[in-house]
């Protein structure tokens, strides 16, 4: 798809979908690219502050169109619709998590559906400096992000009996499968595992699985496997090193990416990227607002900053992106400045200052 190739500077035509993979023009004024920034709820604004501070110090040619969306603002439908318009216009966004508003509108789900941000990619890599039971993990969880169990189609035909529709379509399953295999090929990965529960959900997961198998035949150099999701969760805690690229429907993707994030250090350190045909959204991999800690500046900004760094790479600002990733990893691996989730007591701002200091150090190398 266009968005993966844009990151690595190559281009071509995605024949099946007739979509050009050359980078589409972005909103650019005075040499700067405008991206949408949605800090979100809870600790979101604190994490966004880390990113804006670092980007300013690094003088990256990125201008943020900041859109404040919290529970209060969401009561006004216009605020949410404006955020969607902004993302469509800019084509690139960095976001935190929006807390679900009281009227049951699922804003995070709507974002993905409305913008058709269909592929969520979470790469879980072990950090040398974070003590975890398992090491040497490097897996990529690719989650179909627009249908499945998150279709939000529920009804109570009879009081006390709720029916929920899980929607799996051939079109979207083929699309995410192709995305996964293309991603594996672009990143020199050897194996794609389809995660499913087709033994029980024979038609829905059965369709998903069949689509993955069909697409796999076009990529003979990449090994293809299938695994039932409950076994996958077990395997993840016993032998996570066996996994390479994993592709799955929405709910399993949510569970597997959270589980894998826990294995390598938690929600504070894992970034994610989400792609649509003409849009890319970067956000922390395990999405949690942590409302209780709002305003306390105790959250780990690493995931958000790494998401920002991947956004820079997507914008072809590879040097800036790579140096920022290097700085964050060095700080985490050195283990001297650690936020609460990593066993220390540093604040969000202290972590940010450490990243900045490391950037200076790398610059003078």
């Amino acid at each position: 798809s266009r968005c993966i190739n844009a990151e690595y500077g190559s281009s071509g035509i995605n024949a099946e979908y007739g979509v050009s993979t050359a980078a589409a023009p972005r909103t650019k004024y005075g040499g700067k690219t405008t991206v949408t920034l949605i800090p979100g709820d809870g600790v979101g604004p604190e994490l966004a502050e880390s990113v804006t501070t670092i980007f300013k110090e690094m003088a990256v040619p990125v201008e943020f169109e900041m859109i404040d969306l919290n529970r209060e603002q969401l009561k006004d439908e216009g605020a949410f619709d404006y955020a969607i318009k902004s993302l469509k216009r800019n084509g690139v966004g960095l976001k935190g998590v929006i807390n679900r508003s009281a009227d049951f509108r699922h804003h995070n789900v709507e974002f993905r559906g409305n913008l058709d941000v269909y592929a969520n990619v979470v790469r879980c890599m072990s950090f040398e400096g974070i003590k975890t039971h398992h090491t040497g993990i490097d897996l990529i969880a690719i989650r179909e992000n627009t249908e499945g169990e998150y279709s939000c189609l529920e009804h109570e035909s009879v009081p006390g009996v709720v029916e929920s529709l899980k929607i799996i379509t051939r079109e979207k399953s083929m699309r995410i499968a192709k995305f996964a295999f293309d991603y594996a090929r672009e990143h020199n990965r050897k194996k794609v595992t389809c995660i499913h529960k087709a033994n029980i959900m024979k038609q829905s997961d059965g369709l998903f699985k069949a689509c993955c198998k069909e697409v796999s035949e076009d990529y003979p150099m990449i090994k293809y496997e299938e695994q039932i999701v409950d076994n996958t969760c077990q395997q993840l805690v016993i032998n996570p090193q066996q996994f390479d690229v994993m592709v799955m429907p929405n709910l399993y993707g949510n569970l597997v990416s959270n589980l894998a994030a826990g294995l390598v250090g938690g929600a504070g350190v894992v970034p994610s990227k989400s792609y649509g045909e003409n849009i890319a959204v970067f956000e922390p991999g395990a999405r949690h607002t942590w409302m209780e800690m709002k305003g306390m500046y105790v959250a780990n900004p690493s995931a958000m900053v790494l998401s920002g760094a991947f956004m820079l790479k997507h914008l072809q600002l590879h040097e800036a992106g790579d140096v920022l990733i290097k700085a964050v990893k060095r700080v985490i691996n050195r283990g001297e400045v650690r936020s609460r989730d990593l066993g220390g007591s540093c604040t969000t701002r202290e972590m940010t200052r450490a990243f900045l200091a490391e950037l200076d150090a790398i610059h003078s190398e």
Partner: protein, 133 residues
């Protein structure tokens, strides 16, 4: 708790109890079995109306281990102990459980899935020895 948070927390914390719908339970029981050493060890019970109770191991048929005496009977055995307790036979259950846990701790006669070399009958014989005292 939201299931995705719970799944993430399960791999970092040591104690948790939860009640959940079917699919999440299926996933969670395999996940937690993995955390304690694998499907060879995890017991379960299914409770129904009118006091019906069916106990079974969490694992499946393990077709690849058929007729080799390699299977780990702990999961089924512990499920049987849950059954004994349900029937009010707590003393018997405790005695057998003590023997099982001690055998597992000593690691001299344990099955392949948890790193030993004993066969199913050898493991069971050791447990019986410990019960006889």
């Amino acid at each position: 708790a939201v299931v995705s948070t719970q799944v993430r927390e399960a791999v970092v914390s040591t104690q948790s109890t939860g009640v959940m719908p079917n699919l999440y339970g299926d996933i969670f029981s395999d996940l937690t079995a993995g955390l304690i050493g694998g499907l060879g060890l995890a017991p379960s019970g299914n409770m129904g109306k009118d006091g019906i109770a069916i106990y079974e191991a969490v694992h499946g048929t393990a077709d690849d281990l058929v007729e080799q005496n390699k299977g780990n009977p702990t999961a089924l055995l512990m499920s049987a102990l849950m059954m004994l307790r349900h029937m009010g036979l707590k003393t018997h259950a405790d005695k057998i459980e003590g023997a099982v846990l001690e055998t597992l701790k000593e690691r001299k006669f344990v099955t392949g899935d948890i790193g030993g070399t004993a066969t199913n009958p050898e493991y069971a014989a050791e447990i019986c020895r410990k019960i006889k005292g």
